[in-house]
Symmetry: C2
Subunit: 334 residues, 2 copies
């Protein structure tokens, strides 16, 4: 490694004014430094693109500090160890971590986890058996707590989180209704993922379609989008309904969305609870075990949108924020 | 009782179009029927006026069926048994019940409870040791679950519910901030009830005053009013804050109020939970015991606004909906 190998990285160089744009990012080339004792170098294979990233681009009060300017953009990654001076890792190990938007990541090993790619494809560790899968598992099991026969609704139903929520709720014996944007996504949600129904929020009659899809009202709602979808669902909630607030992507891009009728919280005695999956690390082992077993058994389906090459990451992120992805959005580096 | 004694009653005769008005009610005189076997007749001493009544006047989906038209207006009452054909009650017993807006109530006894007026005044069974007191107790202890050192905020702080919430939170070791309308109410909340601070929402700088009163943010919020007060509090909530949604009186009178920024539920990982105290009857005995002991020991202060005479009930209810009461609103019949 004495020859100065080049690492390509994408930095956040400015904060969005309203909508995020590709010009908020910059691709740079940086020589790789030799490893220090205890360090591990990973060749990233896939970058994970996730809605939370939009929040980190702002300098606003939130659950996590903002992404610093002129540093490598944050993000989950899977890859293979290329070199190690850490006894816990050896070259060839597959690992998941948070190495960000770059071809090579260097780590002290503490936040890297070795993964078994013999039964589950490596990219799934960024989706259904990764943070999005555990997010689905936590919100459904620990906040919604579905009971057989109840109706559970999930927005962004074809996405990395929503697709897992719905399949787990279906396995729990619920009537499961997805909300997604467009006929193709809705068809996939019903035909491949096995939901009972899916409402296309772009079809222009969200409230009417939701009523038809959930004729007995809604007992549990997994919220990924906010805005008009939240308003429509709230008006259909049954008494003692539970809403797991995981995301409000419709309001992320400088476009905050009010809740029309908070009175339903009172009149229907609802529980709404926001959560961040990284604050519930105690459930990760159990959730990952169950999710991995379901995938290996062919019981949990997922779909990926794959952008090619590091330089495609900014546009792929912006597209995801507008719902252009179909399934888990990844960037394939190698 | 063979002579036809006259009962005066107030009926709901029409539903409000927007704001409720006195013309929605009508006073009638009705002869009292002789008691049937098992019945109890009660001379009502006080009627309780409570914000939930506004909801019952509408014919809208809510947690309880609407008040039927042309029937005696619903409501909590305390009084004294005047005649009994029920072995569980005898003339002279003091009782609390839901006998509605009338001078005499007739009951099968199932929803009447005998009360001890030797240490606690009879009217308090409609307030601090009645439904409002248990409401405060439940929302604070079962939803907010305050920890010593936390900051708890309560709106309608000088009212029947809010005043108990704050005093119990103070006893739990919290910093307690009230929100009330007007300097007199705020002074009472701090000087008599012992809150640490009180924000006058009518003073025109709610957000600024709230920030000053809760400099470390807000961990628990007991919501009685909704609207702009909710929006201001929401923006100051700390991570993992809990909001007990007991009422949204500002939106009751045909004036629904949006929640500006539901995104805080996510970014601060909040829990919001609506509740109706009648659905948690298991806690009533414990709550009433604790509240009664605190009152008897002089540790729990309360204040009453008393309107005189049955015919004053409609205007007193409308006044309360606009915050004209100062403390628990009652109608004194005798």
């Amino acid at each position: 490694m004495a020859d100065a190998q080049i690492n390509r990285q994408i930095l956040l160089v400015s904060r969005p004014q309203g909508e995020a744009t590709a010009s908020n990012f910059k691709l740079v080339e940086t020589p790789l430094e030799p490893l220090a004792e205890g360090e591990v170098r990973v060749r990233n294979h896939y970058l994970s693109l996730d809605p939370y990233m939009r929040g980190r681009m702002d300098d606003a009060k939130s659950y996590a500090p903002p992404q610093p300017l002129n540093e490598v953009m944050i993000g989950g990654t899977v890859g293979v160890v290329s070199e190690s001076r850490n006894a816990a890792f050896k070259a060839g190990d597959s690992v998941v971590g948070m190495l960000g938007w770059q071809e090579y990541g260097t780590s002290d090993g503490k936040s890297l986890n070795k993964i078994d790619t013999s039964r589950v494809p490596i990219s799934a560790y960024l989706g259904a058996v990764g943070m999005p899968g555990v997010t689905a598992w936590y919100g459904l099991n620990c906040i919604i707590e579905p009971k057989a026969g109840e109706t559970v609704v999930v927005s962004a139903a074809s996405g990395a989180v929503g697709s897992v929520v719905g399949q787990l709720a279906k396995a729990a014996g619920c009537r499961v209704v997805g909300i997604a944007g467009g006929a193709d996504k809705c068809r996939y949600v019903v035909e491949t993922l096995g939901f009972d129904a899916c409402v296309d929020y772009k079809a222009g009659k969200l409230r009417e379609d939701l009523k038809a899809a959930a004729p007995k009202g809604i007992d549990g709602y997994f919220e990924n989008v906010g805005g008009e979808v939240l308003n429509a669902v709230l008006a259909r909630m049954n008494a003692f309904g539970r809403i797991a607030v995981c995301g409000m992507i419709s309001g992320y891009d400088g476009n905050p969305q009010p809740m029309d009728a908070p009175r339903f919280i009172l009149t229907q005695r609802l529980k709404l609870q926001g959560f961040i999956v990284y604050e519930h690390l105690d459930v990760w082992p159990q959730a990952l075990k169950e999710l991995g077993e379901r995938i290996a058994a062919g019981q949990l389906h997922f779909r990926e949108s794959i952008a090619e090459g590091l330089e495609s990451a900014p546009e792929a992120l912006l597209g995801m924020l507008h719902g252009k992805n179909f399934g888990k959005q990844l960037v394939k580096l190698i």
